[in-house]
C-alpha cells in the first residue's frame, strides 16, 4: 500500500484565551508524498504556522492528527523533520560551525562523525569562509543559510520552513529561493520532501509542486492546487502561465476573505 510521507487528517486546533475559545484551524486535511515540494499559503493569522508546528510535533491538534509514514507524530523528532525559522533562531554564542552542529549533537552523533557532515553542509550552503564567525557578524541572508544548513545537517526526511525568506531583503530572498530549490532537486542530499509556509502567492507558485490554500481564521483548506508549470521557473517574470496561476489563487483568496469582490 502506498503511504505518503506526511498526512494531515482532519486537523483542528483551538486555544482557550481566558473564557473564550479561539478556533485557529478547522478540519484541515492534505498529504505530501516523497520528493514533493508543498507550500501552504494563506492570509496572516490563518493558522498556517500552527499547522506547521503540528506537523513538526511542536504543537498538538485538538481534533484529528498528523502522520509521518503512517505513524502518529507525537513530538519533535529531528530525524523525521527539521525546521527553518523565519527569525533564524540561531544561538548567538555559537559559531556558524557549532550552530550547524547543534542538531547532530542532540541526536547523539559522536564528535568525530559530526565533522564531515557539518563540513558537507557548510560547503553546500557556501559558508566555507564563515565557519568560525558568530551570528552577530553575519548578514540576514548568511544567517538564514546557517539556519538551512543546521536543518539539513540532521538529514531529516522532511524539511519544514516557516516563512523562511520573509525577514530578508528581496534580492537575498530570491537567491536563497533558488538555492533551496537546487537542494531539493539535488539527488545527493538526503532530504527531498519540503513543506513551506508562506503568505506570498508568487513565492508559492514559483517554488511548489502543489499549493494548499487556507482560508482566513479559522483556517480551512479552500484549494489544493497542483502547479504543473515546467521547472525551472526562474524566468517566471515573463511567463503568462505563471501569472494566470497567481491570479487564480488570488481570486480564490479574495473571494474567501470577502475583499475585492468586484474581481
Amino acid at each position: 500500500m502506498f503511504v505518503p510521507e506526511i498526512e494531515v487528517k482532519h486537523v483542528g486546533r483551538e486555544y482557550s484565551e481566558g473564557r473564550m475559545r479561539k478556533k485557529i484551524l478547522d478540519d484541515v486535511s492534505f498529504s505530501i508524498n516523497e520528493h514533493e515540494f508543498v507550500c501552504v499559503l494563506g492570509p496572516s493569522g490563518c493558522g498556517k504556522s500552527t499547522l506547521l508546528r503540528i506537523v513538526a510535533g511542536l504543537d498538538t491538534a485538538t481534533t484529528g492528527k498528523a502522520l509521518f509514514r503512517g505513524r502518529d507524530i507525537t513530538g519533535p523528532n529531528p530525524r523525521t523533520s527539521a525546521m527553518i525559522f523565519q527569525t533564524f533562531a540561531l544561538l548567538p554564542w555559537r559559531t556558524v560551525y557549532e550552530n550547524i552542529e547543534l542538531g547532530l549533537q542532540s541526536i547523539g552523533v559522536p564528535k568525530e562523525k559530526r565533522k564531515p557532515t557539518v563540513l558537507k553542509y557548510i560547503r553546500l550552503m557556501d559558508l566555507d569562509d564563515f565557519a568560525d564567525a558568530y551570528p552577530y557578524e553575519l548578514s540576514g541572508g548568511m544567517k538564514q543559510r546557517v539556519g538551512i544548513a543546521r536543518a539539513l545537517a540532521v538529514e531529516p526526511c522532511v524539511l519544514l520552513m516557516d516563512e523562511p525568506f520573509s525577514a530578508l531583503d528581496a534580492m537575498t530572498a530570491n537567491q536563497l529561493r533558488r538555492d533551496v530549490l537546487e537542494i531539493w532537486n539535488d539527488a545527493k542530499t538526503v532530504t527531498n520532501t519540503f513543506l513551506m509556509i508562506t503568505h506570498l502567492i508568487e513565492e508559492a507558485v514559483m517554488m511548489a509542486d502543489r499549493v494548499i490554500v487556507l482560508s482566513k481564521r479559522p483556517g480551512r483548506v479552500i484549494g489544493d492546487i497542483p502547479i504543473d508549470i515546467p521547472r525551472p521557473r526562474y524566468d517566471h517574470e515573463r511567463d503568462p502561465e505563471f501569472y494566470e496561476m497567481c491570479d487564480m489563487i488570488r481570486r480564490m483568496i479574495s473571494y474567501n476573505t470577502g475583499e475585492g469582490k468586484q474581481v
Partner: protein, 582 residues
Amino acid sequence: MKNLKTIIAVLLTLLAAPAVVFTYFGQWDSVFANPQVLLLPYFVFRSVLRMLAAYVLVVIFGLTFGIIAGLYRRPRIFLLPVLDILQSIPVLGYLPPVILMFSGALPGELGYELASILLIFTGMAWAVTFSVLGAVRNIPNDLREASNAFGVRGWRYVRHIVLPAIFPSFVTGSILAWGGGWYFLVAAEMLSYGTSVHVLPGIGSFLGSAVFSLGNLPSAFLGLCVFVFVVFFINSFVWKPLSEFAKYFNTQTMVSEGTQPLVYSEFGPIRHLIYFVDKLDAKYGDRLDLFMVSLQQRYGKTFRFLEHVPSKKRHTRATLLTIALYVFLFATIMACLAFFVAAALSVLPLQSLAHVLDTRPNLQNLPLFGLYSASRIFVAYIIALAWTLVAGIAVARSKKLQAIFMPMFDIGQSTPALALFPFIVIMVISMFGGSGMSVEIASILLLLTGTQWYLFFNIVGAVKSIPGNILEASRAFDLRGWQFYSTVVFPAIIPGLLLGSIQAWGGAWNALIVSEYINYGGQVYQVQGLGAYLNQATLAAVPEPWEITLIVATMSAIVLLMNYLIWRPLFNYAERFKFENV
C-alpha cells in the same frame, strides 16, 4: 490588577503571623513591655517619609547627572570617574562626613533628620544615576537621528525623547535604589559615630533598639513583620506596576508582535499617579517647553561646552590619561574624606600620613584584611550562586513553581537584611556557640543576605527573556534535559548572571561593615577583615582619621579594581552574544 489576591494574602499573612506566634507562645505581655510598640504606625510613617525625601533628592541628582553625563562627552570624562568612585565607597563610609555636615549645622532634630536622609541618599543615588546614564547612551541611533532631523534638540530632546526612552531603566534603577535604602534603614536611623548614637524615630530604629538596646525579641519580630509588610506593600503597589507600565516605553520591542494593549486598570492604584502626570503634562507641558526653550536661547551660549561629540576610538594614551584622572580623583576624594572625618572627630589638623603609618601598625595588614574579606565574600557568592542558579532556573521555567515560590522570594527580597541580622546571629550562636568558627558562619550568612537576591532576580529575568524562537528551535531539534540546559539556558543567562554578580559584589562590600563586626547582647563578635577593622578604628579610644580613610579607600579601591579588571571585561565580552545582536 494582576496577582492582587496573592498580594493581599501575603500582606494579611504578614499581619497575622505575629499575632499567631504571640498567642501561641503567650508573648503578648513582653511585646507590650516595649512601650514603643504602640507608636509603630507613626514610625512607619516617619520612615517612609524619610525614604521618600531621600528618593526625591536621588531623582533630581540621578536625572541631572545621568542625563548630562550620558549626552555630553566632555562632562562625562570628569563625571563618570567621580560617580564611579563615589559609588565604590561603602554606604557607611559616608557616615562621618554626612553627620558632620548636618548634625551641628542645624538646630535640634532637623540636622540629624537631614543627615539620615542624606545617608539613605548615598545608598540610593548610584543605582538610579548609572541606570539613567546607561539608558541615555543606549537611545537607538535612528531615534536620535529622527529627532535631529525634525529639529527636536536641547530641552525638547531631553523632555520628549530622553525622558520617555530612559523610563524603563529609570524604574529598574529606582527599584534597586529603594532596596538599597531599606537595607541600610536601621543604620540610617541609628546614627552612630565614635561612641555616640543618635536615634531617629522610625521602623528601622524601632527594630534596632528592640534587639540591641532592649533585647526584646518578640517586639523585634513584630517590627520585622511590619517592616516586611511596608516594603512588600510598596513593591507590589508601586514598583511592580510601574515596571509593567515602563515596558510600553521600551524602544527595542516596538515591532514585537506580543505587545498587549495598554490596560490602565492592570496597574492598580498607581495608575492615578500616571493619570495625574499625564494631566499635568497636557496642561502645562507646552508652557514649560516654551519657557525652557526661551531660557535655552538666552543662556544657551554659556552651555556651549555641552556639545554632542561622537566618541572616538580609544587609544592607549587616552586610556593612560583616564587612569591618571581616576587616580587623581580617587586621591582627592579620599583626602576630602580624611578631612571630614577629622573634622567630625574634632582632631584637626590632620597628622602626617607617615606618622600615622608608624603609630598604627595594623595598617600594614590592610592588604591581608582585604584578602580575608574578599575570600569571605567569595564564599558567600559561591553559596548564593549555587542555590540561585538552581532555584532561579526552576522558578523561571515552571509556572507552578512560580505561583508557589515567587511570593516567598518576593518577601525574602523585601526583608531588609540588616533587620534580619539579629535573628541570624541568635540562630547561629545558639547552634554553634560563640566560637570563632560560628562567628565566621554568621558573618558569611549575613553577607549572603546582601548578595543572593541580586543574583536570583537577575537569573529569573534572564531565563524568562530567552526568546520564544530559540526555545522552539531547541524543541524542534529535540534538545532535552542536561543538553538543553548546557547548550541553551546556561549560555543565555550569562549576561544577566554577570549583571547580577556586579550588583551582588557591590552589595556584599556594603554589607561587609555590618557583617564582620556584630554587637549583640552587649557582646562583640568579630572576624578578621576590612569591615571589622573599620568598626574597630571608628570605635577606638582615639580614632585616627587617616586610619579610617585608608580602610575605606582600600575597600573602594578593591571594588573599583574588580569592576574594571574582572566584571566589565567579562560583561562586555558577553554583551556580544546577546539575543538582541543576532
